[in-house]
């Protein structure tokens, strides 16, 4: 097995994921509509209620829609990461995960490829969202669209790795509703998506600490700064560390000799 084999394998996995995505138009539309509903309805309603003072990276007062845009980008990737985890559980129940796992390249590499493929799909979704948002007067510096990309790769990987970790632990498809309740919602609401951290601190120190601990907060902050061509070093490192942790545990979970896959005898069938 040489580097060429590895690259061909990566390409194959990304192509498959992209094809599957294109065949699921409903999924694409849902991925687009979800943040737009927040932007058009929620943010519009709340702009008068919530004033956001000047905090970095913003240099002036910003309308609430502008404030929550990075969080909505994060939300797209969060949902996408969980969706990939759902599809991995589904693949495992249906068996197509097996074809991946019994191919000769190392398993950590196969899982990483799968992760990258999911991230590629999430980035497509994010840019589609930003195009629509641009018509809603969410003005982003032109270069911001470019400087956003590396942040999206990193946050997408981190959230995808979290999904993968969950997929290694979830035995059945039905448990996915639990993921919605216990992962997506808490991560989304206990973060800096909808309100800045200082504002949360004013009302509850405990909640503030939870939000500051939440890796999703740091993904959102990293995206927020990247959108204005700036780097939030602490948040970026926090996301990177979370990625390492989640990916490490996910690979452990799928390890043929150690993780849950060995103990439970999954994949079923």
């Amino acid at each position: 097995m040489t580097a060429v084999h590895y690259l061909r394998c990566l390409r194959g996995i990304v192509v498959r994921e992209a094809l599957r995505f294109l065949h699921q138009r409903g999924r694409f539309i849902a991925a687009l509509v979800r943040p737009l509903v927040w932007l058009f309805i929620f943010a519009a309603g709340f702009r008068t209620v919530l004033g956001v003072s000047i905090i970095p990276p913003y240099e002036t007062y910003v309308p609430y829609e502008v404030y929550i845009t990075p969080g909505l980008i994060g939300m797209i990737q969060l949902f996408n990461g969980m969706q990939s985890s759902l599809s991995m559980v589904y693949d495992r129940e249906m068996g197509s995960m097996k074809t991946l796992l019994v191919s000769p390249l190392p398993r950590w590499y196969l899982l990483t490829c799968k992760l990258l493929a999911g991230v590629a799909v999430s980035i497509l979704q994010v840019y589609a969202f930003l195009i629509v948002a641009a018509f809603w007067e969410i003005d982003v510096p032109v270069l911001g669209y470019v400087s956003l990309l590396p942040a999206l790769v990193l946050s997408g990987l981190m959230l995808g790795a979290l999904g993968m970790l969950l997929s290694s632990a979830i035995k059945q498809l039905e448990n996915f509703a639990g993921v919605m309740n216990f992962v997506i919602f808490p991560m989304f609401f206990a973060s800096s998506t909808l309100y800045p951290l200082w504002k949360i601190k004013e009302s509850s120190l405990l909640l503030y600490n939870i939000c500051a601990f939440n890796p999703f907060t740091h993904a959102v902050e990293m995206i927020r700064f990247a959108l204005y061509g700036q780097v939030n070093t602490f948040s970026s490192l926090y996301v990177l560390a979370s990625l390492a942790l989640f990916l490490g545990l996910a690979i452990y979970g799928y390890d043929p000799g150690r993780g849950l896959i060995a103990r439970r005898g999954a994949p079923a069938g």
């Binding site: 060429v4 394998c9 390409r11 194959g12 197509s96 074809t99 019994v102 196969l110 005898g265």
Partner: protein
């Protein structure tokens, strides 16, 4: 490896090296013992039927041979490569058809095959060539661009066999490949795989609970509740059980073990 040309995939193997060697393999899930000291070998050109009722441990054995998870004790070697110690070498030489269908229904036949080829690091060109050959001899060439969803059950199975052969393996593992198929489709698949054995020296491990799939020239491994009760040529196993037919032998063997 150069999957483009199956004949060159491997270096010449010394005579007598088994395609699949299972040696003293035991496995359990928690307290449940799934396999107990299982041992048998399959040589190139042999069609070995792994015969067992549902729950005998066939699927667990397949999972171990394909390294979905590790065997806890004993050893599994594929053309001399230990599955645990040299997984890449071992896995590159096997083609697998799992019990459940594992193809993407929404992708075309050709997209499914290309995906598999990519997982094995094959070039696009090599994949195209192999696809033509494998689909061609299964009379599926003209369906290459059809979505799998539009194919019948028997055709889907044929696609899965073509896929398992894409990278030119020398050991083919099939876990209950004829489940849910009608008699004709079943026979077509059996014939195809037997031909691979005869004409290309493919080693085959065919797991089934359908005794009538056993042919007089096959090797059989009778697996019951995780134990290998008998292993050898059909005639030997039948004689060993003091029976007249393999069906009778199977009943005697599994009955004797007592449930």
């Amino acid at each position: 490896m150069t999957p483009a040309a199956p004949a060159q995939v491997t270096e010449p193997v010394a005579d007598g090296v088994a395609a699949l060697e299972v040696e003293g393999v035991s496995h359990s899930f928690g307290a449940k013992r799934a396999l107990e000291n299982v041992a048998f070998t399959v040589h190139p050109g042999e069609f070995a039927v792994l015969l067992g009722l549902n729950g005998a441990g066939k699927t667990t054995l397949f999972s171990l041979v394909t390294r979905l998870y590790h065997n806890r004790s004993g050893a599994i070697r594929i053309f001399g490569s230990d599955v645990r110690k040299k997984p890449s070498r071992a896995l590159a030489q096997i083609g697998v058809v799992f019990q459940q269908p594992t193809i993407d229904l929404d992708l075309s036949v050709s997209q499914n095959l290309r995906y598999h080829a990519a997982l094995h690091g094959m070039s696009r060109r090599a994949a195209e060539e192999r696809q033509e050959v494998e689909l061609g001899r299964l009379d599926m060439a003209e369906r290459a661009d059809d979505k799998v969803r539009r194919l019948s059950g028997g055709q889907r199975r044929r696609v899965e066999i073509a896929r398992a052969l894409m990278h030119g393996p020398r050991l083919l593992l099939l876990d209950e490949p004829t489940v849910g198929l009608d008699i004709r489709a079943r026979q077509a698949i059996l014939d195809h795989v037997r031909r691979l054995c005869r004409e290309e020296g493919m080693a085959v491990l065919w797991a089934t609970h359908l005794i009538d799939e056993v042919d007089g020239h096959d090797r059989v491994v009778v697996l019951h509740e995780g134990h290998v009760l008998a292993f050898g040529g059909v005639a030997d196993v039948t004689r060993g059980a003091g029976a007249a037919t393999i069906i009778e032998a199977f009943t005697t063997l599994t009955g004797k073990d007592g449930t």
